[in-house]
């Protein structure tokens, strides 16, 4: 059976050869198969794979990698373990970020202290880079930049500031770090500058100040020096840089009286407030898609009303979305008319990934625990 499949794939590859000038052998993961889904109604989807990183539950070592193969619309769960059977410990504990750069897939495995580099073609391991408590990742042509909660010097036990580490893309070696604010989360590169969102998530629980961080640290990428610190709002979360020099930052709020929000920084570092109530955001080209609810602090409400909207050049525009999931945890924009939404369910058992086309749910498949992060190859 497997042989036949391989033969078919080989034939397909040969057929493909006749059409494309560059011959491309079938990737090693070509015979993985999972759930067949329907992508026929998605318009303008230019991608080979959509990767899904499932965070897993902290301490349970159950982060997993899924992918949706566009060619045959097949959703394959648990791909890391299948393609790396010798990696006995699996992907690790808490997958926190995933980015495709070239033909490489970079993943941040937070509580394993690992940046995992895979081949995007077949999910086989390329490199494992050790870094303390890594959170998020950004790239330029030469380096990967990873935010980390751990201070460079651990002598300050009370409340160490975080770091941004720099990793050479070719050698996969760590080359220095820059101190930023407390518990940095998101990071993005815009016009030669790195924007880092400092959360202060741990600081908020520690004496004596019990306060969140409210700053964005701006680092000059070429010199790898901290240039500027800009105050935004408490508990910053993610950073997105569009192609026009706009930098969007989301905040998670203080879970009490300051709600989550979306802010925009221009190249001069001026901050403008765009919206409140942002739970999830994903960038597609120059447009940021957001999902949020005004009932975000209504902890006991059995179901909430979710709203979706998008933002281009700071201009907000509502979009229709009949969201059926009650615990959306990850967001990804596909083509011109589709959204993929990860549902965490009870945050304990495996969640699901759903496709919405033109605002309506088409299907959902079972994913791993807390499907929160997407990358398109």
């Amino acid at each position: 059976m497997r042989k036949t499949t391989l033969l078919c794939l080989l034939l397909a590859a040969v057929c493909a050869c006749q059409k494309t000038p560059v011959p491309e052998p079938a990737p090693a993961d070509a015979d993985l198969s999972g759930t067949t889904v329907d992508l026929s109604t998605v318009q303008g989807l230019v991608a080979r794979k959509i990767f899904v990183l499932n965070e897993g539950q902290m301490g349970s070592n159950n982060a997993t990698l899924d992918f949706l193969r566009v060619s045959d619309a097949n959703y394959i769960a648990g791909a890391f373990k299948k393609m790396n059977p010798d990696a006995a410990a699996g992907l690790g504990d808490v997958g926190n970020d995933i980015v495709v750069i070239g033909d490489e897939l970079w993943m941040v495995v937070n509580n394993s202290g690992i940046v995992e580099v895979l081949s995007a073609r077949d999910e086989t391991e390329v490199a494992v880079i050790a870094l303390p408590t890594p959170r998020s990742i950004a790239f330029d042509q030469q380096y990967a930049y990873v935010t980390s909660w751990a201070g460079a010097s651990f002598s300050d036990t009370k409340n160490p500031k975080g770091q941004v580490y720099r990793i050479d893309l070719k050698t996969k070696q760590v080359e220095g770090s820059v101190e930023v604010g407390y518990q940095p989360e998101g990071i993005a590169l815009s016009q030669g500058k790195l924007y880092v969102a400092n959360s202060g998530g741990i600081s908020s629980t520690l004496p004596p100040s019990y306060s969140y961080d409210n700053t964005v640290s701006i680092i000059d990428a070429a010199s790898f020096q901290l240039r500027q610190t800009v105050e935004v709002q408490v508990n910053l979360a993610k950073v997105f840089a569009d192609g026009s020099g706009n930098v969007y930052v989301t905040t998670a709020g203080n879970y009490w009286d300051v709600h989550s929000g979306l802010y925009m920084l221009d190249a001069a570092g001026h901050v403008s407030h765009i919206s409140d109530y942002v739970s999830l955001a994903a960038l597609s080209g120059d447009t940021l898609y957001c999902l949020g609810t005004e009932e975000e602090y209504e902890w006991t409400l059995p179901s909430k009303i979710w709203e979706a909207w998008r933002c281009t050049n700071g201009q907000k525009e509502n979009i229709d979305l009949a969201l059926e999931e009650q615990t959306p945890y990850g967001l990804c924009v596909l083509g011109q008319n589709a959204l993929m939404i990860g549902d965490a369910g009870d945050y304990f058992n495996p969640g699901s990934v759903a496709l919405y086309v033109d605002g309506n749910k088409k299907w959902s498949v079972t994913a791993g625990v807390c499907p929160g992060h997407f990358a398109i190859w």
């Binding site: 539950q57 902290m58 301490g59 509580n111 202290g113 009370k158 908020s204 009870d346 304990f348």
Partner: protein, 661 residues
């Protein structure tokens, strides 16, 4: 005569009862009556003084009981909790000398803190123990483990025991106990025990073998008990302090080379004072007063300077509790009695953790119970009222709040027992109970939910006991089918560290199960052979949301099948014990998928003991005794995990020497 009858009844009683306790010289002058017997007998019972080499860990004794799951995070300092019949550990009351050991912070009582050294008897009751003059809280728990302090028979004015245990995991544990008769009506018992262990043991870590690190523990326990007799009554007072310093090795996960799994440390200082006074005012009317004050101070530090992977926490917690119970019992007729118990309790929790709300809780428990008892039939009915008032300080909201602060419940129960022939006993019970959300459930910053609904448990059960009277060859068989349902079940599972919990409201669980216990013993000449087979079937299913992917699945960590085999052979002063436990496959998630499948495991512990009687000292009635014991844990070196990510020790050898005089 009374004592002989009691002895006979105790011997014929629970399936797994071993032998009646040593005669109690200081027992209150109580008129023995059928009203003093519990309607539902203990499901399991162990007299520690009967065991040549008693396990030092309470968890190792409870583990082999039917219907019991002990969750064990491994090692000496690892958390150990008990779950009975899938109700959840919060529904299991642990009672020390009739007073509940509680923990308002997370309602998880760590069995690892209890030493078996000062205990005489351990009993497990499904539903509850229902004897005269118990506290209202004892009526209120879903299942109960009763620990009774040991008061040895003093032939002289004083006695004592020194013991030393040591071996695997770098353990060394000396203890000293002193018993003193102060007068004919007053007895003192003082004990000191020290434990030191490095907690190091090899374990399989994915495709390699590592040694468990940062699992060391040092603890010191000091306690004194005083027991006195007054005309028609008795009183006791117990002072207890426990200090410990331990590391948590953390779950086994993928971790980059060069970073340790954990550098977390915790130190505890526990203190309690408890006591009681029981008085028979007339032949019909008696009262019992019980009281307790406890204070638990905890310092938790993740040491980020030693572990760059640690979240930088350095937190202090102080938990205090004050408790008073007044119980009254009146015998209306020889066959009819009425009990009324009223308890009040105050709990407070303080911490320097951020956004901490400093909760205070005042609880009231009232229990009214009545009992009809004849020789061949006994029945009881009760109703318990529980009301609790919380007040918590939220600086963000500008001060103290009583929002969602009052919770109350009525808990009825009924039980019946009959013994138509001496070889058959049948009982049945129905019980509704209720457990309050813990402070962590309600107020833990960013995870807690102040509007949380309490958990409610409904239990239906029956026991059929068959057996022969005591004699050279004796056997007993107990078959106990049951059904229970827990609604709005709150499940707390420790994640990264045992100190931080994830709240999971599974919602509703229905359990259909059966416990079977068969025991036999045989005496001939210098030989005594004992054997017990236990089997538990538990179908504990998630009934939360019809149509959900996990509906109808087995809940996490509950095996469908489990059991144990116990065998002991005594010849003269030698004793050999064999104890095997089996736990069937389980899942660590409600999603019963291969990713979360946990393999079955079985472990066998073997012990060998020798008693040496030395010649009596001058002017002393009692012969000094030297006991030597050797225990081999996990004889077949089976790698196993009770909780996923927490490997348990392989084969380990422990030696034990004790000298009593």
């Amino acid at each position: 005569m009374g004592r002989r009858l009691l002895l006979a009844l105790l011997l014929s009683a629970p399936c797994c009862l071993v032998q009646a306790q040593e005669a109690d010289t200081l027992a209150p002058a109580q008129v023995f009556s059928v009203q003093s017997l519990p309607v539902i007998k203990a499901a399991e019972e162990v007299s520690l003084s009967r065991l040549a080499v008693p396990p030092s860990q309470l968890a190792d004794i409870l583990r082999r009981f039917t219907g019991v799951q002990v969750k064990d995070y491994g090692g000496a300092g690892g958390l150990k909790t008990i779950n009975v019949r899938s109700l959840g550990s919060e529904h299991v009351g642990i009672f020390l000398d009739g007073i509940q050991v509680d923990n308002a912070q997370n309602m998880q009582v760590d069995l690892g803190r209890f030493s078996t050294e000062s205990l005489g008897q351990i009993q497990l009751y499904n539903a509850q123990k229902s004897t005269r003059l118990q506290t209202a809280k004892a009526y209120a728990s879903g299942a109960a483990v009763h620990l009774q302090s040991e008061w040895p028979l003093l032939l002289d004015s004083y006695g004592g025991k020194f013991s030393l245990r040591g071996g695997a995991l770098g353990t060394i544990a000396p203890s000293l106990q002193w018993d003193q008769r102060l007068s004919s009506r007053l007895q003192l018992k003082a004990a000191a025990a020290f434990v030191s262990t490095n907690g190091r043991y090899p374990y399989p870590c994915f495709d390699t073998t590592l040694v468990r690190e940062n699992g060391d523990l040092r603890s010191l326990r000091l306690e004194a008990r005083l027991r006195g007799q007054v005309r028609g009554g008795s009183w006791d007072l117990h002072l207890y302090t426990y200090g410990s310093e331990r590391g948590f090795p953390g779950p086994v996960i993928r971790r980059a080379q060069g970073f340790p799994f954990s550098a977390e440390r915790q130190s505890d200082q526990d203190l309690f004072v408890q006591g009681g006074w029981q008085q028979e005012w007339t032949a019909r009317y008696a009262t019992a007063i019980k009281y307790k004050y406890s204070r638990n101070y905890t310092h938790y530090n993740t040491h980020p300077e030693l572990n760059p992977m640690a979240l930088p926490y350095d937190l202090h917690y102080l938990q205090q509790s004050a408790y008073l119970s007044v119980a009254q019992s009146y015998i209306l007729a020889d066959f009819w009695s009425v009990d009324l118990a009223t308890d009040v309790q105050f709990n407070a929790l303080d911490s320097d953790a951020g956004a901490f709300v400093t909760p205070r809780r005042t609880s009231f428990y009232g229990a009214l119970a009545t009992r009809l008892a004849w020789e061949k039939i006994r029945t009881s009915a009760q109703v318990v009222y529980q009301g609790s008032w919380d007040i918590f300080n939220t600086p963000q909201a500008g001060g103290w709040s009583r929002e969602n602060a009052f919770r109350s419940a009525w808990m009825p129960a009924f039980s019946i027992w009959a013994s138509p022939w001496h070889w058959l006993e049948v009982d049945a019970y129905a019980k509704s109970s209720y457990r309050l959300p813990s402070f962590n459930d309600l107020y833990y910053s960013l995870i807690g939910n102040a509007a949380l609904e309490p958990e409610q448990a409904l239990q239906l059960g029956a026991d059929i006991r068959l057996g022969t009277s005591p004699g050279p060859w004796h056997w007993e068989l107990r078959i106990s089918p049951y059904w229970n349902s827990v609604r709005q079940k709150i499940v707390a599972i420790p994640t990264l560290s045992q100190f931080r919990w994830t709240m999971l409201n599974i919602g509703r669980v229905e359990t259909l199960g059966m416990d079977v216990c068969a025991q036999t013993d045989f005496h001939a000449g210098d030989w005594t052979l004992e054997m017990a087979l236990r089997y538990s079937l538990q179908r504990a299913l998630d009934r939360s949301t019809p149509g959900s992917s996990t509906y109808g699945n087995q809940i996490p960590y509950i095996p469908l099948h489990s059991g144990s085999i116990y065998f002991s052979a005594k010849w003269k002063d030698w004793e050999l014990g064999w104890d095997s436990s089996f736990t069937g496959s389980r899942w660590s998630r409600t999603a019963n998928t291969p990713d979360y499948y946990l393999s079955p495991w079985s472990i066998t512990d073997v012990s060998l003991g020798k008693l040496l009687r030395l010649p009596p000292l001058r002017h002393r009635a009692r012969c000094p005794e030297l006991r030597l014991g050797l225990t081999c844990g996990n004889l077949f070196n089976q790698p196993y995990q009770i909780v996923q990510g927490y490997p348990m020790p392989g084969i380990n050898l422990m030696g034990n020497v004790s000298f009593s005089w």
